[in-house]
Amino acid sequence: MATVLGLSFDYHDAAAALVRDGRIVAAVAEERLTRRKHDARLPELAAAYCLKEAGISAESLDAAIFYEKPLVKFERILTSAMASAPASLAPFVRAMPNWMVEKLWAGDRIRKLVGPKPALLYSEHHLSHAASAFLASPFDRAAILTLDGVGEWETATMGIGEGSAIRLEQSVRFPHSLGLLYSTLTAYLGFRVNDDEWKVMGLAPYGKPVYADRLRQLIRVDPDGGFRLDLDYFDHAGAARRGFTPKLEALLGFPPRTYESEIEDRHRDLARSIQRVTEEAVVALARAAHTRYGTDALCIAGGVGLNSVANWKILEQTPIRRLFVQPACGDDGAALGAALLASHVLYGDPRREPMAHAYWGPGTSDADAARALAARGARFEVLDEAALTARTARAIADNQVVGWVQGRMEFGPRALGARSILANPQNPRMKEILNEKIKFRESFRPFAPSVLREAASTYFEMPPDTDSPFMLLVPPVRPAWRDRLPGITHADGSGRVQTVERAPNPRYHDLIAEVGRLSGIPIVVNTSFNVRGEPIVGTPDEALNCFLRTGMDVLVVGNCFLTKPQPLAMPEAPVGAVR
């Protein structure tokens, strides 16, 4: 029996996760505690939280495991620089100081964090991703796909998981990368790499795939699912900061969009086209995994796994019937994967239970919530369970926008009913209201539905036994309901659905059921509790600040119910952990 702390940092989305005796105890991204989006620094606060949640000190750890091998990554950076010289001079000079001063010394920094006693281990980037998917899944045997931008050298792997064993049998190596292909087109479309890929996916349904044929020239997908990029169009190791060469511009026939400039039809069409080409590649990979391993169960992790539209295509177009996508697909989830790998594979702890929910972050009890709100001088009511459900559901049915903070925070980028903003999906103006008054984000971005699991197949074209607890599938909304659910139906008639079961979050389940009783449809709009450019809120204080700054009507924290106006102003300095 072992207690293991998994850590990921130094690229983006630093995180810590603690696994004890084969069970997940805690997992949180550093950004949620420092309030700095995509914080990549050593996750001191996240590690401290994980230890606190486990009620142990660092000395009690058996091991701390880093999610990748930093020297192998460094070798890739040097080799790429040499192979691309002299064009790689500028990126080399930019990158090296950080490597020399910090990244090469990841182990020493972890040692300082946990002290001399725990064993210090290093996983491999894609092995960590694979473990985060398979060892957290409900499957005893499943094919595994990991797909991201790049780890040490690898950008994709395929393998098989059986029991507690993981065998990754083949990989695609840098610079041939499906993640980098998507990111490069994200940059071409004037969005930020490693942050705005969502926007490309959200923009895609507004366009036509008119550039798909041209984009297919960028990637060759083999019948066995292997793929390679045509490197004439890419410059991942060279001087081009946005990762593409002039040849790509010549191929597409229009210049790259500049950041925050107007989005035109050609940009929508390009978004649709790259989404289409990515889906084709992901489907080919899933099909190849099925053929190679003869199982209809598939586990996916790595940043590309957050492409929930592509995930749905796997279920729609391949023999894969059981799909588990790690909710923290990115590098944050790799911290969890590394910890699970050490626990199950290296220390031999048995697999106990699948990851049925994502509520592994810092929590807020009802009493904590009341104390925190009272300390800020907020005016609120403390309600019993029935009144809390009834009042909140009534507010949603009456088209009010509700901030909802309950229990432990989600691990991963999606808000799943613990730190969510909720609204009425039947209101045709709700998207506008949320985008303009609360989220302050682009109007084309869709909002996702949370639906009772037992009712999901009534409203969405998904088989009754299909789960989507982590909001990582985008099935079509049934045509008969699209007009009645304008708040969550995207331009192409789809919805990024979260199916909600009662056990992991009974209060959220009861709320949606009550909304169903009042409005006739047990669905709410569920979007993350934050505003553009900020991490999702964690504490009642942060929730209150966000509530006061935006057009939200109601705030529910634990069993405390607040409405506006409030006799409060924003504090001069942001409340929350700062370092």
Binding site: E44, A48, L78, A85, L168, S171
Partner: protein, 88 residues
């Protein structure tokens, strides 16, 4: 509660004036350090990496040859602590 990095939370015992002067020295030092690093790294690149790169390219580490398959077989991972004990 586990205390991590107590040294990082030390409070300054110096006066505000000394602190400002120290901050200015640090800022200037950082600036000079950046210039120095850029010069040294450029020299290292031009004198070492670039020439070595000519040899490295012969091995095609970025797999530019178009006839190569996408997948590369991956060596089996042995689940022992030794393999996971080093950063390479």
């Amino acid at each position: 509660m586990t205390e991590i990095h107590p040294s990082a939370r030390d409070e300054s015992i110096y006066s505000a004036a000394v602190k400002s002067a120290w901050d200015a020295i640090l800022k200037a030092g950082t600036f000079l350090g950046r210039i120095q690093a850029a010069v040294l790294l450029t020299l290292a690149f031009v004198l070492v990496l670039w020439p070595l790169g000519l040899l490295v390219r012969l091995q095609d580490p970025l797999r530019r040859r178009r006839d190569l398959p996408g997948w590369i077989p991956r060596p089996p991972a042995t689940p022992d602590l030794k393999r996971f004990g080093h950063p390479f």
